[in-house]
Structure formats: structure tokens, C-alpha cells
């Protein structure tokens, strides 16, 4: 197995539980694995939550982590995927000074070309939102930095897999 670090996107289907985030993050913390991004949300299944976690580790580490995650009582199933196996999005928002919209005409072009959109404009500031792949967001960030960004934040990754997850059929089998 490769000993090189790779980027993995982990999808974890869980029961809703207050303490579970703690349990899951502790698995990474104990092994000094940095979580690049973490998102929790409902999933396609009623009452089941989905964690999406991005890490850079070796595949053999990844397998062990998967085992440790699935070992948690309230975890239904954990999957991991490489970038090629998923469709993913991250999103970000920028807050910028409104006068830039008029003084720096290229900003309009940057927004258009990067497929970002303006969410709101008022007298003092305006807000740009962009969803996309990490590199696209990085690029937009670089392009806007020169004009001065008042605030910037970026979300965790969300992803769906190209192949079927098989989680619904698994749950059905568990339920009878």
C-alpha cells in the first residue's frame, strides 16, 4: 500500500448524537492527523446525519481510521474516497468595501468569470459568494486579495460519490 499522503474525503453516516463529534474528532487528534475540513449535515436518510471530513494521510492510515470510526457505537458506516471518486463543492464568502464595485471595474469581471455572485450590496460593503472546487476558491481569493478583503470565510467540503453509497439498503437490512 502506498506510503504517500493522499487527500481523502471521508463520509460518515451516523445517528444524531451530541457527543459523537467529540468521539470522531478524538480519533484524529490522538493520531496527530489534521482535519483539513469538517462538515456535518442531515443526509439523504431521515434521522441520519452525515459527516464529511477531509484529511491528508496514507491509505493504510486511512483504513485504520475508517475502522476506528466505524467502531463507534453510533456510527452506521464510514466511507472514504479520493478526489476522482467524488463530486465536491466548497463555498466561501467575501465581504468587501462597496466603493470597490465602482472604483475597480475589474472586480465585476472577476466575479463574472469566476462564477461567483453578489449576495448583497449596501452603502458600506457588498458580499460575494462562490461555490466550487478548492482551487477555484483559492484563485478567487488571490484575485480579490489585492483589493483588500474585509472578511473571508470558507466552508467545509461537501461531497457526493460518483458510485452508489449502498447505505440505504444497508439500513433497511438492519431495520427489520
Amino acid at each position: 500500500m502506498s506510503t504517500e499522503n493522499k487527500q481523502f474525503t471521508i463520509s460518515i453516516y451516523t445517528e444524531n448524537n451530541i457527543g459523537l463529534l467529540n468521539r470522531i474528532s478524538a480519533i484524529f487528534q490522538r493520531r496527530h492527523i489534521n482535519i483539513e475540513s469538517l462538515n456535518t449535515s442531515p443526509s439523504e436518510i431521515d434521522g441520519v446525519s452525515r459527516f464529511t471530513i477531509v484529511v491528508n494521510i496514507t491509505e493504510s492510515q486511512m483504513k485504520k481510521i475508517q475502522g476506528q470510526i466505524e467502531k463507534q457505537v453510533e456510527v452506521i458506516k464510514a466511507f472514504y474516497h479520493t478526489e476522482e471518486e467524488i463530486i465536491y463543492q466548497e463555498s466561501c464568502i467575501f465581504k468587501m468595501r462597496s466603493n470597490l464595485l465602482f472604483d475597480e471595474r475589474q472586480i465585476q469581471n472577476i466575479i463574472k468569470e469566476s462564477n461567483a455572485r453578489i449576495v448583497t450590496v449596501n452603502r458600506d460593503f457588498f458580499v460575494i459568494e462562490k461555490s466550487g472546487r478548492k482551487e477555484e476558491i483559492d484563485l478567487l481569493h488571490r484575485e480579490l486579495t489585492v483589493f483588500g478583503i474585509m472578511q473571508f470565510t470558507r466552508s467545509g467540503r461537501i461531497a457526493v460519490t460518483k458510485d452508489e453509497m449502498k447505505i440505504s439498503s444497508m439500513l433497511k437490512a438492519l431495520q427489520h
Binding site: R23, G67, V73, E74
Partner: protein, 578 residues
């Protein structure tokens, strides 16, 4: 506690509804789960439950230990000797934090345990109230599962899940934290035992193909070696295990926690693996052609340097916990599932064999170990007493029927190396965590769970003093445990490392000890001290003959070392005999 609403238990209804308080519900849950004994210590936040215990004292026996850590280890000892779930209880804050060492110990040694803690009232949560501590947060990394209950109505389901999770699959400790208002609150109680949890599969399916592949490897092997662990005992698979190794004629070695699953004297039992294990199984780990690991987890104290561990061998791993597969040692064939069912299914697939030449290699290496180590341990010619000769005498006088509860240190390694076991679940010791102070309270729990068995505790002078206060529990409960302290006036195991690896700089390992006899007598426990070999036999006879608890201090050689030894980082085959 949201999870009780979302997790769907496949439960079976057992009782009718009655209106009672949360604290009474706690007792009724325990009774419904068959709990007869629990260990604990009261305090403000758990007082309502103690008040109910008072009312139910004819049905459930609460043992007041002298420290909450003692309660956890007693519950562990209880669980380890009986296979039942151990239960302990404490108040919030310091009571709860005092449980942590025992919980961590139970987690790493897969001991089923349910811990109940009181918590401040729910309106005070997060306010840094008196004796408020986030015990759910603190215990999360060392529990198999935990939860906080803030409403009485959540109690039955929390307990049902707790017991189910603690005892099913790979067992482990769970913790339920109950706010004080939930203890007072009245609700309509019914109890349903938990039959399953949607997100939790305790025992993975056993793959027939994996079994066949394993059998093929075993049948083709010229030099197979079995290394078994506690999974055989926890899975109640002793008979199936014996049947397989006897049919296939495989030399079999054990990890510390696997000890006693088959008798010490069994002809296929080739001894202990690991740091202070036997010479033959350690050396031959690196010569076998197929290594069959059964219910063990390749702990670093067992494997030594992984880069040189059994590299020549094909590895088969029988294991209940999928997360253990390939965790430390890459396996060729993993057979998931409960040891009992896997081994039962494996039996018809393996061929009869005897491997006589291969067995001879074990015998040859045993002879070397005997000459270099065992002879001097068991039949010393020097004046000072050895720890091993004490064990030998205990073996003789208990005919190998005793359960040995050992603490942590040199005496533990000696106890594991030399104790002779006829019965399973007889070696009770803190393996994974190596918790000094484990033995005395664990022996209390073991004796209470198995009153018909002789329970002999072996501790060092150091570890004994870590939970010595539990003599008070023995005194009050009249628990007839036999307490043996092998006194070398040193933190011996650490001193051994200082001697071997730190140029004999004995930093803080020499101990000036109190009068242990006087202390035992202070608790009205019969006590004797042995300093000479000639008195050993009678002293042990007096101890075994004594109907009540008994304390025996044996002054042993101060600076003896435990050998063989695999120095940290060395290969199992580089095990040192001196």
C-alpha cells in the same frame, strides 16, 4: 439526550408501567439486568440513588469501597472472573473523575462495565456549579459508549443500551451520567431490554471463504504457531479452541490476558509471548511458517519491534473487532467473528496433525530457558527469597485452582510466568493499561463474584500502597481474599530498567515502607511476614487454611530482575535470557 430518541432499539417489552422516581428506576434497571452487586461511593449528586439502594438492600448489594478507583477495579475483577457486567457508581465531580483510571483500564482490556455517575441538576449544567465536571467529555475517549441523562424518562433506555453495549461484541466500559433532577423526577417506568442498535453490529459475520483459506494455510503449515488472547475467554470459546489446537496439533502460546483459557499444564501450551514471556514462543514466532492469532491484538508488549515480527510467516487473525485487523500486523487472512463460532466452524476444516519435530524445537528452547532462568527462579540456591518460589508454593497448595489477581510490576510478570492454572478466567491482571493499584480492589470483586474460588492477590510493595485503603472494604465486607505482597522495597520493575538501561541510577524507586503487618492488623486482618525460606511453606498453608481474609508479606531479594526480556524496540527473537 437526543440519541435515545433517534436510535431505534429492537427491544422486547418486559414490564408493565408504574410511576416511580428516576432514582428508583435506576435500581429497577439494575435488577432487570440481573445485577446483584455493585461497587461505589456516595456524594451529593448521587444521593437520591443511594436512598433507593437503602430501600432495596435486600435485593441488591452495594459495596462501599474506600475510593472510587477501588470501585472500578472491584467491578472489573467481578467482571473478569464471572464474565458478567461489573457495575460501579460515584457522585459527580471528584467522584466521577476518580473512576477514570478504572474505566481506561476496562476499555483497553475489553472488560464489560457499567459506570453510573451523579451529575448536578440540569439547570446548573455548564455553570461551573459545585462538583460539576464534564464527565461525559472526560470519559469519551476511554468508554465504549457514554451518555448523559437529564430526564427520568430517558433512564430505562439509557440503561438498556448501556448493558447491551457493555457486554456485547468486544466488551467494554460505558458510562451513564444522571443529573440530580432526573433522579428526583417521577415518570411512568417500564423496562425493555435492548436487543440491538441500528448503527452497531457487535459481532461481524464470519466469512466461510476466509475460514476455508485459513484452514488451507493451517493444513499446509509445517511450523504453525497459535498465539491466543483474551478473545478466547471473552468469547467463551475455550472448548472450541482446545478442540482445534488438539486436532491440528499446534503449539499454542498466550498473551497475558489469554492466560488460563486452557490449563497451564496442557501439552500444547508453550507459554507466554511478549516482553517477559517464555523463550521458546518468542524466538519461534520468528521461525513459524503460519502464525494463527486468535482473539489478540498484537500489542507492542507482545510483538516487540514490528519490523522484525514474524516476517517469514503467513498471518491468520481471528478477531471480533474489525478495527484490529491490520492495525499493527498485516494479516494474510482475517477471520472476523466471535471466536466460539469461528473456531467451531474451523474444526471440521483442519486436518489432524501432530508436528512432533516442531514441538521438539519448543522443548529444546524451554530447556535453555530452564537452565538459564527458570531453575534459578524456582529453585534458588542463594539466600534471598525469589518471587517465583512464592508462586510455586501457592501453586502447590492451591493445586492450581486459585484465581491469581496480580498488580503491575516484576511480581506481575513472575505471577503470569509461574502461576499454574487449571480453570479459565483465573488470571486477573491489568494488561493493557498496566495500572498499579489494580490488584487489591480487583481481588475483592473477584472473590465476591466467585466466593467458592480461592482468590490470591499478588502485589508489589509499591502498587499495594496505591489502593491499600481497600483493606477497609475487605474488613467491612469480610471478603476472604488472600493478600500476598512481594516486598522488594523497590519499585522493582522500574528499578530493573534503571539497572539495565540507565546505569543503575535508582531515581526515586527505593521505598521506605511502613509496617504492613501492623496496617493489616489495624483492619483486623490476620497477617504474617516471611523473611526466610524455611517459613514460606507454613506461612502459605496458614494463609490458605484461613477462613477469612489473610495478609502475607514476603520479603524477597531486593534487586532481582525478571528474565527473559525483550528490550523495548528489539525483536521478539532477540529476547535476552540474562
Amino acid at each position: 439526550m437526543k440519541e435515545t430518541q433517534t436510535i431505534q432499539n429492537k427491544a422486547e417489552s418486559t414490564a408493565t408501567t408504574e410511576r416511580i422516581s428516576g432514582s428508583e428506576a435506576v435500581i429497577k434497571c439494575l435488577l432487570a439486568e440481573g445485577v446483584e452487586t455493585l461497587y461505589g461511593y456516595p456524594g451529593g449528586a448521587i444521593m437520591p440513588v443511594y436512598d433507593e439502594l437503602y430501600k432495596y438492600q435486600d435485593q441488591i448489594h452495594h459495596v462501599l469501597t474506600r475510593h472510587e478507583q477501588g470501585a472500578t477495579h472491584s467491578a472489573q475483577g467481578y467482571a473478569r472472573i464471572s464474565g458478567k457486567v461489573g457495575v460501579c457508581m460515584a457522585t459527580s465531580g471528584p467522584g466521577a473523575t476518580n473512576l477514570i483510571t478504572g474505566i481506561a483500564d476496562a476499555q483497553i482490556d475489553s472488560t464489560p462495565m457499567v459506570c453510573i455517575t451523579g451529575q448536578v441538576g440540569s439547570h446548573l449544567l455548564g455553570s461551573d456549579a459545585f462538583q460539576e465536571t464534564d464527565i461525559v467529555g472526560i470519559s469519551t475517549p476511554v468508554t465504549k459508549w457514554n451518555c448523559q441523562v437529564t430526564k427520568a424518562s430517558q433512564i430505562p433506555e439509557a440503561f438498556a443500551k448501556a448493558f447491551f453495549i457493555a457486554r456485547s461484541g468486544r466488551p467494554g466500559p460505558v458510562l451513564i451520567d444522571i443529573t440530580k433532577d432526573a433522579q428526583f423526577e417521577e415518570f411512568d417506568f417500564t423496562y425493555q431490554k435492548c436487543k440491538g442498535i441500528r448503527s452497531y453490529k457487535p459481532v461481524p459475520d464470519t466469512d466461510e471463504n476466509a475460514l476455508k483459506a485459513a484452514a488451507e494455510l493451517i493444513n499446509a503449515a509445517k511450523k504453525p504457531l497459535v498465539v491466543w488472547g483474551q478473545g478466547v475467554i471473552l468469547g467463551k470459546a475455550e472448548e472450541e479452541f482446545k478442540a482445534v489446537i488438539e486436532k491440528a496439533g499446534i503449539p499454542s502460546a498466550w498473551t497475558i490476558l489469554g492466560a488460563s483459557a486452557i490449563p497451564t499444564a496442557h501439552p500444547l501450551n508453550v507459554g507466554m509471548v511478549g516482553m517477559h514471556g517464555n523463550y521458546a514462543p518468542n524466538v519461534l514466532t520468528n521461525e513459524c511458517d503460519v502464525l494463527i492469532a486468535i482473539g489478540m491484538r498484537f500489542d507492542d508488549r507482545v510483538t516487540g519491534n514490528l519490523d522484525t515480527y514474524a516476517k517469514q510467516a503467513k498471518i491468520i487473525h481471528f478477531e471480533i473487532d474489525p478495527a484490529e485487523i491490520d492495525k499493527n500486523v498485516k494479516t494474510d487472512i482475517a477471520v472476523l467473528g466471535n471466536a466460539k463460532t469461528s473456531l467451531k466452524r474451523l474444526l471440521p476444516l483442519v486436518n489432524k496433525n501432530s508436528h512432533n519435530d516442531w514441538h521438539q524445537e519448543f522443548k529444546n528452547l524451554y530447556e535453555i530457558e530452564f537452565e538459564k532462568v527458570i531453575k534459578h527462579d524456582l529453585h534458588p540456591t542463594k539466600e534471598g527469597l525469589t518471587m517465583a518460589e512464592v508462586l510455586k508454593e501457592i501453586n502447590i497448595q492451591t493445586k492450581g485452582d486459585a484465581a491469581i489477581v496480580s498488580d503491575v510490576g516484576q511480581h506481575q510478570m513472575i505471577a503470569c510466568r509461574y502461576a499454574e492454572f487449571n480453570k479459565t478466567k483465573s488470571n486477573i491482571t491489568s494488561g493493557g493499561l498496566g495500572t498499579m493499584g489494580f490488584a487489591l480492589p480487583a481481588a475483592i470483586g473477584a472473590k465476591m463474584a466467585a466466593p467458592d474460588r480461592e482468590v490470591v492477590m499478588i502485589a508489589g510493595d509499591g502498587g499495594y500502597q496505591m489502593t491499600i485503603q481497600e483493606l477497609g472494604t475487605i474488613f467491612q465486607q469480610k471478603v476472604p481474599v488472600k493478600i500476598v505482597v512481594l516486598n522488594n522495597e523497590f519499585l522493582g520493575m522500574v528499578r530493573q530498567w534503571q539497572q539495565l538501561f540507565f546505569d543503575k541510577r535508582y531515581a526515586s524507586t527505593e521505598m521506605t515502607n511502613p509496617d504492613f503487618i501492623a496496617i493489616a492488623k489495624g483492619y483486623s486482618i490476620e497477617a504474617k511476614k516471611v523473611t526466610e525460606r524455611k517459613d514460606l511453606k507454613t506461612a502459605i498453608k496458614d494463609m490458605i487454611d484461613c477462613e477469612g481474609p489473610y495478609f502475607l508479606e514476603v520479603r524477597v531479594e531486593k534487586e532481582d530482575n525478571v528474565f527473559p526480556m525483550i528490550p523495548t524496540g528489539a525483536s521478539v527473537s532477540d529476547i535476552r535470557l540474562e
